[in-house]
Each structure stands twice: as C-alpha cells, then as structure tokens.
C-alpha cells in the first residue's frame, strides 16, 4: 500500500506490545532474537508492535543500534500480519529525525517520539516545535507524540497539545498517553478539532481507560501477559464489569510484583521464562541475578501468573 494511503488509516487500536530490545550476555544488541519475539507476539494474538520505546531501552541505545533494530524488525515483520510502530524520540532532535526518516523508508505503520528531556521544552509551543521537527522527517507516516511525564518530567497538557499541534504537524495521528491523569486522558479523547487516536499506556489501569473510551493500549506487559488483557477487554465489551475487574486486578498484582523486583529487569526475566531470550537490561536499569530470577519465578507461580496467561 502506498505511503499516502496510510495517513489516517493506522491508529493504534487493540493491544500494542512495547517490545524489549534483546541483548546478549555481554550486553550487545542481539538481533537474532527478534524473530522469536515476533513469533511469540503473533502467537499471543498481538496485532501491533511498538519498538525502541521506554520498554525497548531506547535511551540506552546508540543511534546506530536503533537504526539496526528498526531495520531488523521491519524485515522480520514483513508478511507476518503484525504492524510496526517505531519509536524515534531522542534528546538530540537530529538523531530523532534520522530515525524518523529511516522508519518512513522502512514503511513503518507509524512513528512516535518522546520529548527531549535533558533540556526540557519550557513551553507547549517549544514542545510542538520539537515534535514538528521530527514528524517532518517522515511526512507520509502517522506520527504519535509520546507523553510519559513520570519519566521525562515534562508536564505540558496533552489535550492542549492536540488542540494546537494539529495545525503544525500535518501527519499528527495522536498521542501515546502514558501518564496517570485520567481527567486529561478523557479530555484528550474529546478533542474536537480533528479525530485523534490516543492509545493508553498504563497497563495497570487499562479498564479505567476503556471505560473512558480508549480504543487502543500500548504497554510492556502485553508482551508476556496478553491473555489477561484480552479477557479483560472481552469482558468489558460484553458488559461483564466484575470479570473485567478480576482481570485488571491480576494485572495490578503482576505489575506490582515485577516492580518490587525492579520492573525492567524483572519483565525481561519473565520473557526469558517464556522462552524469549531478550537478555538482561543495560545499566542504569538493574538486572536480576540467578537467585533473584528464581525467587521471581516462584513468586509468580504462587501468584498464579502462569495460569493467568493460558489463553
């Protein structure tokens, strides 16, 4: 399909897995695992992958590594039925633009970018200018601003961003909303100037977002716990809120457990347990030693996690 046909036709609906970036034992990029990751996600009925985001440790990758990562994903996904969203955000907007340009040449279904956060955009207009610079490098690819204030420290209003950025960024498709402010989330869904897509990014309160009108969700736990969320969504769509709440509570317990071990290292260890050898995270994210991994495994077992993820 031509690129021009993609604008407006590719919102991030359903469950979108924010994938881990695979490393080998020495911490080098281990691209051959991507095939296994894709196979695992396809087997979990995931429709779209979001690569090189926060879960993908993009801020711990070199530009060259990010380019190689995107190229490999695009090769692996060809013919798989999975859609590809490439995260391109970086502190250096030139790097971000280079990644955006590559993503467009790889025919990615969409791109997304975090705000630069070492030097922070002080006003909403500066944030919009920064995002416009990146989006312009991939003018035929839908662009999503990626808002995650708890990591970037940037707290500009998402609904205001959507109201004002639409005119500045022609390929703006929406925002990946990973903040906890559900009032702002609902306001973002109600922006009237154009129809925007606002996938929700906090797996542990997906049900709340669905109630407010979410149509898509991007998250890391969809890598290893998709069946929980598929049952949650089905129960919600069927009008069975108690069942949906049961599944959300499982998600909350799971995420709480992983966080207590250090989320990134624990989440990657869970992928290993499921036969997807993504390796340990890079510093500054801590990894779990063998004993901690075993401890995590047995606590997850106790929790019922391995039964929860049977589809």
């Amino acid at each position: 399909m031509s690129l021009s046909g993609k604008i407006g036709s590719q919102p991030l609906h359903g469950l979108v897995a924010a994938t881990h970036t695979p490393f080998d034992a020495t911490g080098e990029l281990n691209l051959k695992v991507i095939e296994r990751q894709a196979e695992h996600l396809q087997g979990s009925a995931i429709g779209t992958v979001f690569i090189g985001g926060s879960t993908g440790e993009s801020q711990s990758l070199t530009l060259d590594e990010r380019l190689r990562l995107a190229r490999r994903w695009s090769e692996v996904l060809r013919g798989s039925g999975l859609r590809l969203v490439v995260h391109v955000g970086a502190n250096c907007l030139r790097d971000a633009a280079a990644l955006a340009e590559q993503a467009e040449s790889l025919e990615a279904d969409a791109i997304s970018a975090l705000a630069p956060s070492y030097f922070k955009p002080r006003t909403l207009d500066v944030l919009i200018d920064s995002m416009a610079t990146i989006a312009a490098a991939a003018p035929a690819t839908p662009f999503y601003y990626y808002d995650i204030p708890q990591l970037t420290g940037i707290n500009h209003s998402v609904p205001d961003f959507l109201e004002r950025a639409g005119g500045r960024i022609p390929n703006l498709a929406g925002v990946k909303f990973s903040g906890p402010d559900l009032m702002a989330y609902q306001q973002a869904l109600q922006v009237q100037s154009r129809q925007f897509d606002v996938p929700f990014g906090m797996d542990e309160c997906l049900l709340a977002a669905l109630v407010l009108g979410a149509r898509g969700a991007v998250g890391s736990s969809y890598n290893f716990a998709a069946p929980i969320y598929q049952r949650l969504w089905l129960a919600f769509a069927s009008g069975d809120l108690p069942a949906a709440r049961t599944e959300q509570w499982r998600s909350v317990q799971l995420i709480g457990k992983l966080a207590s071990f250090g989320y990134m290292g624990a989440a990657k260890a869970v992928m290993e347990m499921l036969g997807v050898p993504v390796g340990a995270p890079r510093l500054p994210n801590a990894s779990l030693d063998k004993a901690r991994q075993n401890e995590l495994g047995s606590q997850l077992e106790q929790l019922g996690f391995f039964d929860w993820i049977q589809s």
Partner: protein, 455 residues
C-alpha cells in the same frame, strides 16, 4: 511466521491451462501466503479502522481507489457483513480486541438503526441511520443473522444467539411461507429464485459453525439442498438455473433464461462445503458438477474472467452489463475451484483455480492502494475505481482470503472424503491423486499460523 521465500516462477502467471502451482508444495506455500498476507496486510489495512464511523456509528464503506469517502450513506447488508467478518476473525483467527470492538461497533448500529417498527430490516440508511430504502427481499436479515451469531460466540451472550436464530427464522418465513415476501411478478408467470435458498443454506451453515449444531439448522440445510438440487440443477441442460417455474421447469423467457455463473458457483461451494462437513461424497459431487457446468458457461474464452450473466440458450442476455467482470464471482470461483481440488484431487480444478486466480489478481488487484477494484469491462479494463459502494464492501474478498488460507493450511479435515474419492474415482483419467491428497493427513498436524481460539 516469517515470510517464506518463494521462487518467482510461482508468483508469475503460468499460462492458461497450467495447474503446476497447486501441485507443488512451494506453489501451495506461495498461494497460502498470498491469501493470508492479503487478508491481514492488504484488505484489513484498507478497511480498518478507516471504515469505522466513530461519530455516528456503524461502518462507512463507499471508498474510492485511494480510500477517500465519496458517499456517507450506509448499506445495511454491509453493516451485517463487515460485523460478521471482524467477529469471525476474532473467533477463528486471533482474539485481537480491536477486531472484537470494531465488530461489535457495527452490530450496535444495526440494533439501533437497522430495523423498521414491523421487525423487518432496511436496506439503505443515511449516515446517521435515518432509513432511505427498504427492499422487498430480506437479505439484510440474513447478513445480520450471521453477525449476531458470531457476536454470540465471541461474547457468550445468549441474547445475541437468540437474535441470530430469530433472524434466520424470519428470513425463512419471509421467503418461503405464504403471505411473506410480495412476489416480484404477477401471478401470470410466477418464478422461484436460487438466491433465497443458497443464502438460507449458507446462513444456516454459519449459524451452525458459530452457535453449534441443532436439528432446526440441519433441517433448513436439508431443505435448501433438496430444493437447489431438485429445482435449479438441471443435468440434462448441464446448467444451474437462477430462476425457475414453481414446478422446476424452465421459464423460457428473459428472466428464466438469465444465468448468473458466479452466483451458481458460489452455491456450488456452499454445497461442497456441506459435503465436506457431512462427509457426504454425493454432495461434493453435486457441488462439483454445478461448478463444472457454470465454469464452462461463465468463463470468457476470449478475454478471460467470468461473465456476469449468460443466457441459457445463448440468446441475447436480458441485462446489458452481462459481459462485465465483477469482483465477487471471481472471489467465489477462486474458493470453489480450490475447494473442489482439495476434495477431489482432480487436476482440472487446479488448472481452473490457477486460471481464475491469475486473471483476477492481474485485473482486480490494486497493489498501489490496496484491496480490489470491483467492476471491470469485459476486456479487463477498469470501469469504476470504487473499492466500496452499496454492494461492494469488506466481505467477498476477505472471505475468499480467509477460506483459501484455511484450505491451504490444512485446517479442513478431508481424510475420509479423500478416501472416498480414491474409491469412487480410481479409474478416472482426470483424477490426479498425488502428493496433495496424501499429504492432507500430515498437514492436519501442522501448526496453525495464527492461534485458533479453543472453546
């Protein structure tokens, strides 16, 4: 899951009479990839979520070549068909929440705006659901029935199942009971149509597949099979008629002589499928004969493709668009020839499959913007660039892709049928039971491409 590397010889058209592609493992892998990737990466991407009307509900479907909306009115057939397709994919391909949401989205519009106060359904409504047209016939009800059935299976909600059954019962009463549908003609020349019988058949089959078997559904299927066989299938003329006198005799007038090869071929595969389901070799043979006759009457030897209408006695056809090439007869013929080949192993079906597949993909496909065009002139030139209108939507083409993908991935159980075929046809020179027929049993074990929901 990773794209199979296929030698280019299998992706090139291989000449009109070739059947090589289906007879080799590589060729079948190539075709499976064409159907699966076509469904997941081309057809679904063209339609969704573009077609979802988030503002006023239901599906918008009148799209031009690029995917721009050129008309906001909505067909009620389309709402049911697209809802069914999405929920069917949710039930049988993968439990993706977006397919569930989008499928239920169309169903809600149908519930709200599809029905008139007398319980009958409209045919065509405005974007906001205000009724524009209600037809004499009741196909809206049949397509809504399969959507409700698929929704019942997806959500487990009994009220959807009950609605599906009610709609089928209504369709049957309306079509087949006195006092139902007003006749198309005066009492001077009453005619019975193939359409209501084949649609009742496939609707009952689909309800069985989504809701589970029941005596009522089997009786509907039995009755449709008997009436199609006894009234519309005419071995002495080697034809499947589209409309007959109530006693089954030929009405030798314009309407009675009008043949619709694509329609008859569609009915043929419904019957073959019933033969496969019941492991009834006679039904398979009936479907195959219907395909044989209507292929020979419908295929355009000069330009390729299937004619839209033919005249029973080769007189000038009634309809002046008779020689156009519409997309859906080709979708149906691609399924029918593949299913016939899978069930019988007869080589001509492999040839025909390749012939209609290659012609269709060469002329209907739009690699640049995705999906298929719907309407071509006789020589294959484009007539109208619409990808969707009140008739064409996301239905025949993805249904073909889904069926053919499933057929080629060996998810259709054929072992007993294949054995019957050997017994019945061992002497037939046309019967090529080679690698494929014997490979069936093995391929049952192969891992499905996408997980199938177990319920």
């Amino acid at each position: 899951m990773i794209a199979v590397s296929i030698p280019s010889e299998y992706s090139r058209p291989q000449g009109k009479r070739s059947c090589r592609r289906l007879l080799s493992v590589t060729g079948r892998e190539y075709l499976q990839q064409v159907y699966r990737d076509g469904l997941l990466e081309d057809t679904l991407r063209f339609w969704f979520p573009r077609a979802i009307d988030f503002e006023q509900g239901g599906y918008l479907h009148c799209f031009d070549r690029v995917g721009n909306l050129f008309e906001t009115d909505k067909s009620i057939w389309v709402q049911g068909r697209m809802s069914w397709l999405l929920l069917k994919l949710y039930n049988e391909v993968a439990p993706r929440p977006e397919w569930l949401e989008w499928g239920l989205h169309g169903l809600r519009f149908l519930e709200r705006h599809g029905f008139d106060s007398d319980g009958r359904m409209y045919f065509h409504v405005a974007r906001d659901g205000q009724p524009i047209r209600k037809r004499r016939y009741a196909y809206s009800e049949s397509f809504a029935a399969i959507a409700f059935a698929a929704a019942a299976r997806a959500t487990g909600r009994e009220e959807y199942a009950a609605r599906a059954r009610e709609l089928l019962r209504f369709f049957l009463r309306w079509n087949f009971e006195p006092g139902g549908m007003p006749p198309k003609y005066t009492s001077v020349r009453p005619l019975l149509g193939l359409g209501p019988r084949m649609i009742a058949l496939v609707t009952a089959q689909e309800l069985r597949s989504q809701l589970g078997p029941s005596l009522e559904l089997e009786q509907v299927i039995d009755r449709c099979l008997a009436e199609i066989r006894d009234l519309f299938v005419r071995p002495e003329l080697e034809v499947v008629l589209e409309a007959v006198c109530p006693d089954g005799s030929v009405s030798d007038h314009l309407e009675g002589r009008t043949l619709n090869p694509g329609h008859a071929i569609e009915a043929a595969w419904f019957i073959m499928e019933e033969g496969r389901h019941r492991q009834d070799w006679e039904l398979v043979q009936l479907g195959c004969r219907m395909l044989d006759w209507m292929w020979r009457r419908g295929w355009d030897e000069e330009f390729g493709g299937l004619f839209y209408f033919r005249d029973l006695f080769d007189k000038p056809p009634q309809e002046y668009w008779h020689d156009m090439k519409f997309w859906w007869p080709h979708n149906e013929a691609i399924i029918a020839t593949l299913l016939a080949w899978k069930l019988t192993g007869e080589q001509r079906y492999a040839s025909w499959h390749q012939q209609v597949h290659d012609w269709s993909y060469r002329h209907f496909a739009d690699p640049e913007y995705g999906e298929w065009f719907g309407y071509l002139h006789r020589d294959g030139r484009l007539s109208t660039p619409a990808k969707g209108n009140l008739w064409k939507s996301c239905f025949h083409h993805p249904r073909m892709q889904l069926w053919c993908w499933k057929l080629l991935s060996g998810r259709v159980s054929l072992q007993q049928i294949t054995i019957r075929c050997v017994v019945t046809h061992f002497a037939s020179p046309d019967c090529q039971l080679g690698g494929e027929a014997t490979a069936e049993a093995d391929s049952q074990q192969s891992r499905p491409i996408c997980p199938i929901r177990s319920r």
